[in-house]
Amino acid sequence: MTGQSTGQSTRQSTWYSTWYSTWHSAWKEQPLSFKLSSIIVVLVLCFGVINPFISYDPVLDVELSRRDLAPSWEYWMGTDGQGRSVALRLFKGIEAFFFPGLIAGLFAAFVGGVLGALCGYFGGWIGRSLSAVLELIDTLPRMVFLVLICTIFPPSILLISIISSVLFIPSIATIIRRKVEALGAEDYILAHVAHGFHPLKIISYHILWLQCRALLTRQMIFVFSYVLFIETALSYLGDYGVQEPYPSWGNMVAQSRISAVAWPWALPALAIIITIAALLAFGDGIARREEEVKR
């Protein structure tokens, strides 16, 4: 009877419930910084997802009579030099990096994870050539290379984020390869081969999912925050990123840098710092938690 009931409960423990339990135990025991950062991450996620459903016409929003208004109940982050609501533009600005960042993060984590696991599993010359490629890509200054790409190709945030995710793949693959090699030393792979599992299942499930998911999540978040950084930087520079009048956190700062009041540029700048800080702290928290559970 007890066996039956416990069996039922284990059958229900699917991927999301395991993730939830990881997160929940992290929530209970992590410091305040983790709680704050996960709130911000969830907020960014929600805003990013509902963003496309909320229409916003940046041209219609211009109303010079209400320019540079201080924060109030109606415009609770004030208005900028053209009378547009800073809060609304901050919210719409998420769209500029959200989906590109998500795609880049997933792509880098997926390809990097699979490559790293393959190298770790098979070892030998594949691993060596991977580290050679890694060293090669590390000598390319990322920013300069991205500017070069923007000069040659018609610039779009999606292209930029894909290229930057490619630049991150070797480092992710190396992290995963080290992890797998460490596991191999514990006979982890051998034990699963001996038990009769398919190599594909060992790589995808036993290695990547069971052992590397926190690492990969963290790397994914890192790539996402890099895309946020590069998008705001390029939009700030003005020629490659999101163009006025469409809002991006970067071009909001650039637009208002000579404004007489602080909020139109200080709030987006603060948003950039806080979001990146929250993303990094969140990734670190999850990864640290996963390491602690293992012991």
Binding site: E135, M143, V144, L148, T151, I152, F229, W265, A266
Partner: protein, 344 residues
């Protein structure tokens, strides 16, 4: 006895020989590695150029390109050849110092004479900010001692800097300093300082202040200082606790000398690892403070779609990173010859 006396110098010269061989082998392998990295990275850039959509020449020259200019450009990038031969010709020209001629940004100006001096500015900003961060990090680490819970209040803000991109730091810094100086000018002077974020082209000699501000924002931004501080403090603490230092202390020898000698290698490693990232950060920060560096040059050229200049600057960055790595490796090996003995 006499035999031993005869043998001794021979032995010594043999050992000397062996050391020379080992050193030259080590140096050779390092040089080879640097060269292959240079080839690989420049090939990536060339391949990117070749994969441009449409005819690159038309793209660069636009409507006002004369046939001679087009032919010139084609020859320069080896566009008529296949990718390998084209790369060979292009790389050979680049190696012999011919990086082409600026087309749209500063027409007629050779890229080398544009990018060279500009790159020195960039490199000096990067090196100054790295060295200052390292110095301050060590100072703070020595001041604070081992990590204690109480320091969280002090270190919290430092950790928050981890997340601030250097260009955001630079903007905030520019803004704040601008406010301060305008305040001092009284009369609400509407004349912004020369380094205010409106691009003007100027000489490095006029720009000590923006140079310092740029270095400061690089140091504070991108988590550079935080990372350096954490890494160097950990290094310092582990070294301080190690038996080696207690042994030196017991002997009554100067602790500081040994500490410094043992800190050089990890510090140089941190420096090497960080340099490419810092160079990337300098690009935007330079632009914000309108410093006459290669970042400014790069972005202006990119704005004007001046491909030869952009490519030339990129090559300078790659070349600099590789050469700096080589130099730092050499310094490391001189400080700690075990590195040489280990390799091969």
């Amino acid at each position: 006895m006499s035999q031993i006396g005869l043998d001794h110098p021979q032995q010594k010269s043999a050992m000397l020989n062996e050391a020379t061989i080992r050193w030259s082998l080590w140096l050779g392998s390092k040089l080879l590695r640097g060269l292959s990295l240079l080839c690989g990275a420049s090939f990536i850039i060339y391949a990117t150029l070749r994969s441009a959509p449409g005819d690159m020449v038309d793209l660069i020259l636009g409507l006002n390109g004369t046939p001679e200019m087009k032919a010139d450009l084609r020859a320069e990038f080896g566009l008529d050849l296949n990718i390998i031969e084209g790369y060979g010709r292009w790389a050979w020209r680049a190696l012999s110092g011919d990086l082409g001629i600026s087309i749209t940004f500063m027409p007629g100006e050779p890229v080398l004479s544009l990018a060279g001096p500009a790159f020195l500015v960039t490199l000096s900003i990067a090196v100054v900010s790295l060295l200052c961060s390292i110095a301050v990090a060590y100072g703070l680490a020595i001041l604070l001692g081992p990590p204690r819970p109480r320091q969280a209040f002090l270190l919290g803000p430092i950790q928050l800097l981890n997340a601030a991109p250097s260009f955001v730091v630079a903007i905030c810094l520019a803004k704040v300093i601008n406010e301060l100086i305008q305040f001092q000018l009284a009369g609400g002077g509407q004349i912004p300082p020369s380094w205010y974020p409106i691009p003007t082209y100027q000489k490095i000699t006029d720009s000590i202040a923006p140079f310092c501000f740029a270095a400061l924002s690089i140091s504070l931004g991108d988590g550079l200082f935080t990372d350096l501080f954490n890494a160097l403090r950990a290094e310092l603490m582990s070294l301080n606790e190690s038996l080696f230092i207690s042994a030196v202390r017991a002997k009554g020898a100067a602790v500081r000398k040994h500490l410094i000698k043992n800190l050089i290698v990890p510090t140089l490693s941190v420096f090497t690892a960080r340099l490419p990232l810092v160079l990337s950060a300098v690009v935007i920060v330079e632009y914000i403070f309108t410093l006459d560096g290669s970042g400014y040059l790069l972005l202006q050229a990119a704005k004007n779609r001046d491909v030869p200049v952009v490519v030339g600057v990129s090559l300078f960055f790659i070349f600099a990173v590789i050469v700096m790595n080589l130099i730092l490796d050499l310094v490391k090996a001189l400080v700690d010859p075990r590195e040489v003995a280990k390799g091969d």
